[in-house]
Symmetry: C2
Subunit: 348 residues, 2 copies
């Protein structure tokens, strides 16, 4: 048995203040002219009754819902956590509440949740982090995007590839290819020629872009890509460990590692050590992300810093600024943070 909501409504406030509900609504909404005396009486009634508006009733009768929704792969990894923090902070500055959901990389679940978001009439729906797309996915996404658009919600993709020209959405990206290019070049310019790339699952766009950066950098140095040096798989700490160990055990040699992210790098370092390689003396390594503890790894990790917070904030800003309803696209930059995990390649 759920207790009947015995909470005061706007009508109770009106009665207590001796005015009409319309006046109460106006006094509370702010801008509209209401006499000071009346306003005072109303505010007093609000306090006495401990009245709070009903957000659903408000949203229903036309006003905006004051909610922005984020949909991400997961929330705990620093990469996602910091983007979410940026979204939340910016949303709060705009007086918005923040709805957070996770997909765990499942495209179906993502679509399912977008449907839920549609029901909520969020002011903005922000999609963070990639999923593996297929045709059916694109179909449904398109339909939902249109649905969102004409329900007045802005759809924005953040830190993932844009949805496509036929889908109404804002895109906020960071320079993934450029970052990977810079990371690889950093290793290259230190004299490394055989560089192991610890990439994400094949077909996972974000990771694929990093591979492109890796290839481009190699190409710029006129070095042929050795497929044996590109490992696809789990990007977690253990994935980094296992895959590095596997490559080593396979007898493949390299003096540099470009890890898909810092966690992967942490695992790779451990695997290297366990196999008797010194880091960075024998093998140099560069990460991607710049997580908070990157500087406390052993050795302190040289890595590519991503503008996580800024991505989140920008996504919200773009969605909320009523400006041009056209499609928009922003690309944020990255930079390398040099620490101690990369050193000059030992000449052989």
């Amino acid at each position: 048995m759920s207790q009947p909501s015995k909470r005061p409504t706007i009508r109770d406030v009106a009665r207590a203040a001796g005015v009409s509900v319309a006046t109460v609504s106006r006094a509370l909404s702010g801008d509209y002219p209401v006499s000071t005396a009346t306003r005072a009486r109303i505010q007093r009634a609000v306090r006495d009754l401990d009245y709070v508006v009903n957000a659903h009733a408000r949203a229903l009768s036309g006003a905006t819902s004051k909610v922005v929704a984020i949909l991400m792969k997961e929330t705990v990894t620093p990469f996602y956590a910091h983007i979410a923090a940026g979204v939340e902070a910016e949303a709060a500055e705009h007086g918005r509440l923040c709805l957070v959901c996770t997909t765990h990389g499942d495209a179906d679940r993502e679509l399912e949740i977008i449907k839920l978001m549609r029901e909520q009439h969020a002011d903005a729906v922000i999609l963070v982090g990639g999923v593996v797309e297929n045709e059916e996915y694109r179909e449904r996404m398109k339909r939902y995007a249109i649905g969102l658009a004409d329900a007045g919600s802005k759809l924005v993709t953040c830190a993932r590839p844009p949805l496509g020209p036929d889908i109404p959405a804002i895109a906020v990206e960071y320079d993934n290819v450029g970052g990977a290019y810079a990371a690889t070049s950093h290793l290259l310019s230190a004299g490394h020629r055989r560089i192991l790339m610890l990439a994400g699952p094949d077909g996972f766009t974000t990771s694929d872009q990093r591979v492109v950066g890796y290839r481009n950098a190699l190409a710029a140095y006129k070095i042929a890509v050795d497929p044996a040096l590109i490992s696809h798989g789990d990007m977690g700490r253990d994935g980094g460990y296992d895959r590095t160990a596997a490559v080593l055990d396979r007898g493949v040699e390299f003096t540099g590692v470009f890890a898909g992210n810092d966690n992967t790098a942490a695992g790779a370092i451990a695997a290297l050590r366990d196999r008797g390689r010194r880091v960075p003396e024998d093998v140099s390594i560069i990460g991607f992300d710049d997580v908070p503890l990157a500087g406390d790894l052993n050795p302190p990790l040289t890595t590519v810093h991503l503008p996580h917070e800024e991505l989140g904030r920008t996504a919200v800003k773009m969605a909320l600024q009523g400006n041009g309803s056209g499609r928009q696209h922003v690309m944020l930059g990255t930079h390398i943070v040099v620490r101690d995990s990369v050193t000059t390649a030992t000449p052989h």
Copy 2:
């Protein structure tokens, strides 16, 4: 100019399917008996029109809001991130959306947001992480708690001290004092007698409890507490560094460190090294939290594992299971994860 919501309503579906809105509502809600043929026609209409219910309208007309709200100090620290992940996961399993807000430790802001949550009529409001309380805070919190209760929302405190016997709320805690006691005892039993405690800001309950555990453990070993060995301050990585450095520079000696959390520990280790102390040969250190990268620090950090996810999940479970509306209280346990940062004290 916001586009008029030209979305189909339940009435459009009813018309398209040639039935009444009530039938549509019933067919969509599930349980109520509706003939298979009618249901099929309705579902077809839903697809054709791309209809989605309006969550606000639904919530307004009595049904539950299907939203649980979390209010935390911040979201990026693993401690909070993992609790939030637990909440989100459990909420999702119950078909709930998850509203996330941050207070940044500001009590006023916390109250402000609780007010917003009240407007949302969330099924549950979960408060994670402490704030520094004062009398006015307790007053307002009590009023809000009552408001939440008779609007049908459950209030639950999670990983923070219960609100008090006169406030209707569920409490989910972990054994903070016990964990700190165990951590300190671990150092003590390794022969350490002068143990630096890197605590949080004075008056911050969560940290204060850890200090109690520290004191209790010392007392059990009949060792007097040296105030010079208890440092209060920022619990971040830099706080750990700066405060450890300061104590060292002050000439205070110790062979063990109990860090308030793993980040603090990471900073402390760096400070120790920079001052020429080896870890763990000269100084042993134990952390608190067991963050993901704790095992990749140098040396791998011995620490106290907290049941983060479980705290979040339990909070949601307790709130959502309609059982006894009375106050409830759960205390989850902790355990030490032994790695390499603690070693036997060098006899002098």
